[in-house]
Amino acid sequence: MCKQSRAVGLALAIVALAAVGASAQNPVFAVYFDPSFTLRETNCPGAGPGVLYVAGVGFNSLVTGVEFALSLPPAITWVADVNTPAVTIGTTPTGIAMGYTTPLNGYSTVELCRVEVLWACASCAAPYLDNEIIVIPSPRTGFLGWTDTSFTERPAAGLVSLVCPAGVAIELTTWGRVKALFSPSVEGGETHE
């Protein structure tokens, strides 16, 4: 009986902790490379125009406004923010604040805006390896977050997306150069310990 009540108590405590953890979880803003919000890593698609999709996840509320900024790597040059509401102040690289006339449905992943960019990289080679696109607080206000239907400002977290992640990097090279990497005696070769 005593063991049973202890077990029940433990289970309740775990459930309570989980609930607290869930409620304390902040929504996140992230940059995706596809409109269905599945890819947060990509190889360089080649020099030319492209689109990034900024989305918010985990609001569990209607969303009346968002504010953030994007830190863009050398692989990407910002061109324009599109699909933004009429009430928009600033740009994504310098800090953007958007107020929505019709609140966004934050009960599922929701697109906040799209960013038209120019890919500067032709392929995944230095200096484009592990290039990070980070959602950061707006440098104008220091705020990264959103507002609910009572226009209360609430914080969010920004995620990192990767261009040319090192794990899957495809770098043009030769077998000779690869061998040189493991041969300390070869002039110009690198040593790895």
Partner: protein, 209 residues
């Protein structure tokens, strides 16, 4: 001699009759119910909260030059205007931007609490008007209109009766790192921030009816 006395008496009687029913703005009174400063957010369409839901109201008593209460003054004959020497409001429809709760009763009394002010602009003070007369504290001297510290903010920042891109430009000019401007602080939290932009977004496209 008796003729002149009769004439003077007639004159006084006529004058008294003529002034009956004409508002005496000095002895008529308005009382503010609430704590100052009070805060009020307005939209040109008038789709915001009422005065009472923001925690304040006005009580008016209207008397004529003889001190008699004036009954049945229509509720539409009451409205508020700003009394801010620096800033001012754009009242949608002028006197139609607000109204009393009901016509004056036999005691000349009515209240203003259930109205939602339809306005643009920004002001730090409101006075109550009845039939064009600014209402005072209810004492003949000093006869100065009552100006209450009600801080009104509106998404129609440029006072043109329409919440549109012009207003976005205005609030963008108040947004950090620009210097703080209280007219862009639509929720009185001491900063122009996302919550103010969100409010503007929610009322975007609204205009005076």
């Amino acid at each position: 001699m008796s003729k002149s006395i009769i004439l003077v008496s007639c004159f006084i009687l006529l004058a008294g009759t003529a002034s009956a029913g004409i508002i005496d703005p000095c002895r008529s009174s308005v009382v503010f119910n609430g704590s100052a400063p009070a805060y009020y957010f307005a939209c040109p369409r008038g789709e915001t909260r009422t005065f009472s839901s923001r925690g304040f109201s006005f009580s008016m008593r209207i008397v004529d030059w003889q001190g008699n209460p004036i009954a049945f003054i229509p509720k539409q004959d009451f409205w508020v205007i700003d009394c801010d020497p620096v800033r001012n409001l754009y009242l949608c429809g002028g006197s139609a931007s607000s109204s009393a709760d009901s016509s004056t009763n036999y005691a000349g009394r009515t209240t203003m609490s259930n109205t939602a002010l339809a306005a643009g602009g920004c002001a730090n003070g409101l006075s109550v008007v009845c039939q064009g007369y600014l209402l005072g504290p209810g004492v003949p001297s000093p006869c100065t209109p009552v100006c209450v510290d009600v801080r009104v903010r509106s998404t129609d920042l440029n006072r043109d009766g329409y919440v549109n891109l012009s207003d976005v430009s205005v609030i963008a000019g108040y947004y950090p790192p620009a210097l703080y401007n209280e007219c862009g602080d639509l929720d009185w939290d001491g900063k122009v921030s996302l919550s103010d932009v969100s409010r503007l977004g929610a009322h975007f496209g609204h205009q005076c009816r």
